[in-house]
Structures are given as C-alpha cells and as structure tokens.
C-alpha cells in the first residue's frame, strides 16, 4: 500500500509540474470561462441596448393590404424598439434587382407579397442571403399575417377600435419547477447542462487516461520499467499510476466543475444540479475512470511509442464518442430504446447514465442499480485482464503484439 502511494505521489507531482497540466487545468478554463462571461455580458448589454435596424425591401402586389401592412410594421417596431424592421416599399421594383441588393447586403431581406393574399390563394415569399437572424422569418410572417387579418376584419366592417380590443394579448409566464417555483424557465441551459456533465466526464477521463498512456510509454522507452519492477510489483505500479493520475484528473474536473457551477449560478439554473446528480456523477466517474485507465494502461504497455498506441486507441476513442454524438437523441428521449440500450454497454455506461440522469426529471433508480451492478462486475474483470496484459507487455519491446499473443498473455499464469 505504501509503495502504491509513493508511485501515486510521484505520478501526481510529475503530472502537475508539466506545462500541459498548467495550461489544461488552469489557464484554459480561465480563458474559456472568461470568454463565456465576456460574451454573456456583451449579449446582456446588447439585449438591453438598441441593435441596428434591419432594412427590409418589400414588394407589395396586394394593394388592399398596403395601409394595414404599414401599420403592422409600425406596431412591430413599437413593441420591439431595440430591433426594428424598417420596410422599404418598392412595389414597382424589379424582383431580380432587389434579390441582388439582398446579396450585396443593402437589405437583410426581400419580402414579396403576391396578389390575392387577403382573399386566399396568394403567397408571401421571403428572400434572405445566408442570414443567421433566426427570428426574422417568424417576425415578418407575424407582421404580414396581422396586416392580412386586420384587412379582413376591416372589410367585414369591424371598427379599428374593436379590432384593437379583440387583438389584446394575454399575459403568459413560463416557470421551471426543476429550477425552483420562482424561476423562469431557461430551456437552453436545461439542454446544455447534461451536455456539460457529459463533457466534464469525457475531458476529465481523457486527460488522465492520455496522461497514463504517455507516462507508461515514457517508462517503457526510457527503460526505467525494470528498475521500478525491482522495487514494486506490476500491480502496485499500475495501481499507483492510476491513483496518481486520477487525482490530477479530479483536479481538472474540480476546476471545470466549479467554473460550471459559477456559470450555472450566474444563469440562475443551479436548481438543475442536486445532490443525487452530483453523487451519481462521482460514482459513475470513478467506475469509468478505473475502467478506461486500465484499458489505456494495457495499451501503453503493449506499445513502444505514441504512434503505435494510436492504432489501439482509435476504436476506444470512437466508442467513447458514441454518447457525445448521440447526445441530442438521448436528451430528447432519455427513456427511449437507444438511451436504455446504450446504458448497458460498459465502457460508455457511465457517460450515458450521467447524460440521462441530468436530463430526466426522475432518477430511474432501478436502471441505476442495474448499471452499477453491471459495472461492479465488468470493471474488476477488465482491470484483471488489463493487469495481465500490462505485466507481460511492459517488458516486451519490438513489434506490438497480435490479438492472439495478447490472449496468450492474459491466459499465462
């Protein structure tokens, strides 16, 4: 035990001394969260202050609509003084020429109102050029629709006063029970929080496992392994390395995690993070960490350099990418077949479960129990196999072993 601790202490102190660690765990998060806060502050300032007007070219071929359309734009701009839509009525303009001015950036959009829109069959067409203004189509649609319905009401003989009264809106408030009854819902944050947990786990584990891989290959290539093995057993060496690097990895996770918490606090979504989630995150993190470090330890012991290791790495990396790629599918349907099935594939179980627990309103305790049983069984088995590969692999130089040879190493007593 004492020797494991000493190996762990060396691994830890050598890791935290490296520039990679300093940059990855201190400087990078500082820059990342700094940029995030800067953008957030800038966005806040922008939302509260006026943003540039949007110039829209309008070809209105429905003359009955003209007076109400103008009023409807005015109405929109009264309600949205920070982000106005300025219509330019060019009813006799050439469509192609105006499309060109949209391309040239003179207008953000060209709105073509065809005849017979009020009566029925006419269409309204909107042309934009690589626009990222998400709200523009719906806002313009709203403006034209309001104009068209108002025109219909007027033509049926309703007075403008009556129309205004009928059109009066309702007060609508949106709360999120997960965030506490008093808090307004923040759907973007709700969607991003599970993803944040997933990434936190992914990077925490990647950082340590990659460190483990390079550290073992370094020991192998610098031929220090025999000196170490004359003092400690292969198992003590492996355990010490995993322990030391996991501590370094936990520091990285803690730094990013607390940064995330501060961010969550700032966005007012701390209610999303509860004790159950945090506890399960830690449990799953540890399982996943031990599992992947054992695998990477075995890979490191088989290879003579990083390039060789990459051949073995890529299938594992691809597997670990599965939860990230299926993030949106899982969070849309956290109890769906895909989500449940992926929960029971050991190396990615922790990722998928963390993602699901962070998404679901209720923790699926039965599935948590089942996946934990699965991990309790599979993780020691994998560690055992990897320890055997490690024991033989670290003394082998030359060509990396074939699967048959690896199998033989595992079987050797």
């Amino acid at each position: 035990m004492n020797k494991i601790l000493q190996v762990a202490a060396r691994e830890f102190s050598e890791t935290v001394r490296t520039k990679t660690f300093l940059i990855g765990s201190i400087i990078l998060p500082m820059v990342m969260f700094g940029v995030m806060f800067f953008i957030q502050r800038a966005t806040e300032r922008k939302i509260s202050g006026p943003r540039p007007d949007r110039q829209v070219a309008v070809i209105n071929r429905e003359s009955r609509l003209a007076p109400e359309l103008e009023k409807s734009f005015d109405n929109f701009n009264r309600n949205n003084p920070q982000r106005r839509l300025i219509p330019h009525f060019l009813n006799d303009g050439d469509e192609e020429e105006l499309k060109q001015s949209v391309r040239d950036g003179d207008f953000v959009a060209l709105l073509v109102v065809e005849p017979e829109v009020v009566a029925g069959p006419g269409k309204v067409r909107l042309y934009t050029y690589s626009s990222n203004d998400m709200s523009l189509p719906s806002q313009l649609r709203q403006v034209v629709e309001r104009a068209a319905t108002n025109t219909r009401y007027l033509e049926r003989g309703l007075s403008p006063e009556l129309i205004a009264e009928l059109r009066r809106g309702i007060e609508f408030e949106d709360y999120d029970l997960a965030a506490g009854e008093q808090n307004k819902a923040n759907r973007v944050a709700n969607m991003m929080a599970p993803f944040f947990f997933l990434m936190l786990m992914f990077f925490g584990i990647m950082f340590s496992s990659m460190g483990l891989l390079t550290s073992i290959i370094e020991e192998k290539t610098s031929r220090i392994i025999e000196v170490l093995l004359s003092a400690v057993s292969p198992f003590e060496l492996m355990a010490g390395k995993i322990a030391g690097l996991s501590l370094a990895g936990l520091i990285v996770v803690a730094v990013y995690g607390s940064g995330g918490l501060i961010a969550a606090n700032k966005f007012g979504v701390t209610g999303l993070i509860n004790v159950e989630l945090a506890a399960l995150f830690i449990v799953y993190f540890i399982f996943c960490f031990v599992l992947l470090s054992a695998i990477f330890t075995a890979i490191g012991s088989m290879c003579n350099n990083i390039r060789e290791a990459q051949n073995y790495n890529s299938p594992i990396m691809i597997m670990m990418m599965i939860p990230i790629f299926s993030w949106s599918l899982i969070s849309e349907d956290p109890n769906g077949t895909l989500a449940v099935a992926l929960s029971f594939i050991p190396p990615i179980t922790p990722f998928v479960m963390v993602l699901r627990i962070a998404t679901l309103p209720q923790v699926p305790w039965l599935q948590v129990a089942l996946t934990l049983v699965l991990l309790v069984v599979s993780v020691p088995a994998v560690v055992w196999v990897c320890a055997r590969i490690f024991r033989t692999g670290i003394l082998m130089y030359g060509k990396p072993p074939s699967p048959v040879e690896i199998f033989r190493w595992v079987r050797q007593s």
């Binding site: 020797k3 000493q6 190996v7 060396r10 050598e14 370094e218 020991e219 610098s222 031929r223 220090i224 392994i225 025999e226 000196v227 170490l228 093995l229 004359s230 003092a231 400690v232 057993s233 003394l395």
Partner: protein
C-alpha cells in the same frame, strides 16, 4: 541454507520455442562477489530477471536471501538492469529519492542516503539537474547510485561495466569490494573476462541457458590443464629452435612462451630444453578465464 544469498534449483525458462534458461543449478554463498559469465544470449539477463521476480521461471525453484520469492525481499535487493533508464524529466536528486522511497528507505533517512550516494558517485553539484541534461557517463553513475541507494543486502548488476570509462569502472569496483567487506553479496553479469577475473570470488559460466562450469577462479583454472609453458633462460637472447611437441614459440619480454602441440608433454619439453641451455624459471601457464571461456563455448558448439 541461510548462508547462501541465492540458490537456484533446476530453473528453466522458455520463450515460445526458445529455451532461454535450461535446468540451471547454482548456490551463491553470502558475502562474496559472484560473476555471472556467458556470451550474448546465454540467458544471463533472463536468469537475473527471474531472480528479481520480474519474470517467473517455467519450472524450478529460486531462493533469495532465504525467501522463496524475491517479491517478499525486493527491498533488500538492489538491481541494475542491463537496459539503463531513469525518468528523464526528473532531477537526479528526485529520481534517487523516489527510488529510495519505493525501495523502503524510511522517509527521514531518504535525504541522508541520497546525499551520501550523490557525493560518492561525484554528482553532488549536478543533483538538481534533470537526468536528460546529464552526460551519458553521469547517467550511468546515477543509475548505479539508484541501485545501491537503499543499502541492499544483495546487489544484482546486469553488465555493470558496459560503457564505463576506466575511472568510473574503478569506482564501481571499489564500491563492490566495499559491499563485500560489509558482508553483502554482489552478483554481476558480464562478458568482460578480465574484469571478472580481477574482482570475483566465485564464477558461474553459462552458455545457451546451461551451466558450463562454476566455482572459485582457482578451482576453475585448476580443472583445465594449460597448453602453454613459460620459460626464462639465463641467456636473455636464447630462442630454442625446433622442439618436439611444441607448436609455436613466441618471445614475451625476457620470457619465452611455448604453445604445446597436440599430445605434447610439458615434462619432456622441460627435459629437452634443460639439455640445451641453462634455465632460470619454468612454469605451466594457468589458463586465463578468457581462454577457458572461449574454449568451453567452442566445445559446446
């Protein structure tokens, strides 16, 4: 049993179809310097690794310092592998401290041991340089210091002399003799016979994984009759002409070396020579280790 630092009984190890060590027996008395000799690929490194419990023998038993497995007495053994290596990014002092620590030196005693050995191998002013900044010779000395920093009872050195300059070679030999006088056991492998001859108390010669011969230098030498005779005549200019039973005559300073032909009898040659000139001395030249080694290895083939 406890008088032996290391006992090998019937130890065998195969790698695939290659037999690396084949039914090796040896008993190494404690408190001596033991040379482990053999050509490249003889199985020296494999044997030492098995002693260190880094690899396990396929069959046979190994007793180290009275224990059946080196795993339990690893702290009492200093091992310098043939393939040298230390953490390149760590300073000399930190490397030594780490190795002393995992070798079971008490935390309070680590700095004392580290400073002692840094001074002993002449690296005290480079103690805070990274290993990769040290010259090759310095790295060799640091490696040696790392092997003995934990003050082990048994020191195992795999090819300790390779790549050492004469000054460092003397340093290593001096430390080895020092250990012997403290009652410690030193085992080293080498193929440099002159070095082994000078320093070893006991020798074990292996080839192709099998023991060829073992014992003290005198025991081994006495087992081999030499085919060389050294003669010194009173007349320093004297060179014998043709002699029956002599294949070759060479002058070596004041002496003359006669190489016996097959079936040549040294006693008859003495009589013949004595009849021709007055002799001052006459001796049968004992075979040196190099000669025995080459002869034995050749016979095996």
């Amino acid at each position: 049993m406890e008088d032996y630092a290391l006992v090998l009984e019937n130890v065998s190890k195969k790698f695939g179809d290659t037999v690396a060590v084949d039914c090796l027996d040896a008993a190494l008395p404690a408190g001596c310097i033991y040379g482990f000799l053999g050509p490249n690929g003889a199985g020296k490194t494999t044997t030492l690794r098995m002693v260190m419990d880094i690899i396990r023998p396929d069959s046979g038993t190994i007793r180290v310092l009275g224990h059946s497995a080196a795993g339990r007495v690893k702290d009492g053994i200093g091992y310098m592998p043939e393939e040298r290596g230390l953490y390149r990014k760590m300073t000399a002092r930190r490397v030594l401290s780490f190795i002393a620590g995992i070798k079971g030196v008490l935390p309070a005693e680590v700095p004392i041991a580290v400073n002692h050995w840094l001074r002993k191998v002449g690296l005290e002013d480079r103690a805070d340089s990274k290993v990769e900044e040290l010259s090759r010779g310095m790295q060799q000395k640091l490696q040696f210091a790392a092997t003995v920093v934990s003050d082990p009872q048994l020191v195992i050195l795999d090819e300790p002399f390779s790549g050492l300059d004469p000054v460092n070679l003397d340093l290593v030999k001096e430390v080895m003799s020092g250990f012997r006088s403290q009652g410690k056991t030193v085992i080293f492998s080498t193929h440099m016979m002159e070095q082994a001859e000078k320093i070893c108390d006991y020798l074990l010669l292996i080839n192709k994984g099998r023991k060829v011969i073992d014992g003290t230098l005198e025991q081994i030498r006495s087992r081999y009759t030499s085919d060389r005779v050294l003669v010194e005549a009173e007349d320093p200019e004297y060179l014998p002409g043709r002699l029956p039973g002599v294949a070759e005559v060479t002058r070596q300073g004041r002496k003359i070396e006669l190489v016996l032909a097959e079936g040549g009898d040294s006693q008859k040659i003495l009589q013949a020579l004595a009849g021709r000139t007055r002799l001052r001395s006459w001796e049968i030249k004992l075979p040196d280790l190099h000669e025995i080694f080459v002869r034995l290895v050749r016979e095996e083939r």
